[in-house]
Symmetry: C2
Subunit: 225 residues, 2 copies
C-alpha cells in the first residue's frame, strides 16, 4: 500500500495467481485501472464510468488483499443502519484490533456512495492527487454486496489500517470504493484471520521506491477518503 501511494501502479501478480490466495477481497489493477472487488471466487473490475466487468485472469495488480471467506458470524440487520452504526456493531462482533477481519454485507441499501479510480498513463501522478479528482457515484435503493477488510494498525503501509470497503450491485453491473452507505435490509457476515501472507513485486519501480517518505497516515486519508 505504501508503494501504491508512492506512485508504483504496476505489479506482476496476475488475477489468475491471486485467485489461488483467496476468493474474497479488494484491490486495484495495473495503471490504477479501476477498483477490484472479489466475492464467491469471482473477481470484478469496477471502472471509472461506474460500470463493472469480470476481471481477466491475465490482468495484473499493484495492490490487492484477498482471503478465503468462511462465514463465522452472521447477523440480519432488518432496520436501516448507517455506515458508522454498522462499523460500531462490527466492533462488538470483532472486538480485537489486532487480527484481520473480512466483512460482507448482502442485501438492500438505501444509498451507497462510491468512488472509482480512473486509468492512469505515465508519467504517473501521485495517488493523493488522483484521489482528489476521482469520479463519485450514487447508488440509491439498490441491491448488492459490500466486501470489506479490517486490518490492524500494525499492518498500516502493507494493508490499509482500519476498514476498507468496496461495493458491487447484485447484477454485477456497477460499484466502486465505498465512501458512505446506508443499509435498508442486509445480512452481515464476518470472518477473522490470524495469518497474513505478503507478496512484493520485484519490479524496478518497487525496488527503487522511496517508501520512507510515504506518510502512513496519508494512506487512510487517500484511500478511505
Amino acid at each position: 500500500m505504501s508503494a501504491l501511494l508512492d506512485g508504483v501502479y504496476e505489479g506482476v501478480m496476475t488475477y489468475g495467481e491471486l485467485a489461488r490466495h483467496g476468493d474474497f477481497g479488494l484491490g486495484t489493477f495495473n495503471d490504477l485501472d479501476g477498483e477490484m472487488v472479489a466475492l464467491d471466487g469471482c473477481f470484478y473490475q469496477l471502472l471509472a464510468d461506474g460500470s463493472a466487468r469480470r476481471a481477466d485472469p491475465a490482468q495484473q495488480t499493484p495492490f490487492a488483499a484477498v482471503v478465503f471467506f468462511r462465514p463465522e458470524t452472521t447477523r440480519r440487520l432488518r432496520a436501516p443502519a448507517s455506515q458508522s452504526e454498522i462499523l460500531s456493531l462490527l466492533d462488538e462482533i470483532a472486538p480485537s484490533r489486532n487480527l484481520f477481519y473480512a466483512i460482507r454485507l448482502d442485501g438492500r441499501f438505501k444509498s451507497v456512495t462510491t468512488r472509482t479510480v480512473p486509468r492512469q498513463v505515465k508519467p504517473y501522478k501521485p495517488f493523493t492527487e488522483i484521489a482528489r479528482t476521482q469520479p463519485t457515484f450514487h447508488f440509491n435503493d439498490c441491491t448488492g454486496s459490500i466486501v470489506g477488510l479490517r486490518s490492524p494498525e500494525f499492518a498500516q503501509g502493507i494493508s490499509v489500517a482500519g476498514c476498507h470497503l468496496h461495493f458491487i450491485t447484485e447484477d454485477r453491473s456497477g460499484g466502486g470504493h465505498v465512501l458512505e452507505f446506508i443499509s435498508s435490509d442486509v445480512t452481515l457476515t464476518v470472518d477473522h484471520y490470524s495469518a497474513m501472507h505478503l507478496e512484493l513485486s520485484e519490479t524496478a519501480a518497487f525496488l527503487d521506491a522511496d517508501l520512507h517518505k510515504v506518510d502512513q497516515d496519508a494512506v487512510m486519508k487517500a484511500v478511505e477518503g
Copy 2:
C-alpha cells in the same frame, strides 16, 4: 513485534512448528527467556548468563522471524571491518530498502558485544524497561556466526525495521543480541526475500493488547539499542 513491546511475552507457536517455516533467523522465547538464533536448521537459546543451548521443539515463542536461507551473494572480508562498514557494504549488495534480506557472517571476530534478555515472571515489566537492565557480554578474538535480518520500513511493528543481528560462537556455547562488533576475517552471505508470512497468536493477551499506543520508533531503540 509491537505486541512484544507492549508486554505480550507469551505466544503459542512452538519451535517445532517454527522450524517448518525456516532454518535461519532470530527471535526470543516465552517469558522472554533468552535470545534465539537459528542457523543450518538448528535453533539455539542464548540465556541471560551468556551461555547457549539447543532449543527444545516444545518451547514456544512470542516473537521469531525465520527464513529458508539460500546463499545468493558471498563476499570474503579478510580485513578487519566495523559493524557500520559491513552494514554499508550490505547496502551495496542489497540496495533496495523494500525487500527483506537475510545476512550471515561466519568467521573470526575481534570483538562482539551482545545483550541477552533475562527470563521474566508475571506481572511482566514493559520491554523498554527490561531492555535498560539487560546483561551485556563481550566476546573477544572469537570464532562464530552472526545471523541477521534486514526488514523494510513498512514492516516496522510486525518485524524490526532495519538490521537485527544475533551472534553465536562456533562451539555454540554462547552468544546474544548484537550491540556492536568488529570482524577480523569473515565471510558475508546474503539472501533476499519478496514474500513474508505472518502468524499471530490468538491468546487473550495478544487479542486485548493496545498496540495503538506502542511507539513504533521505540521498537528500534529498545530492540536495536
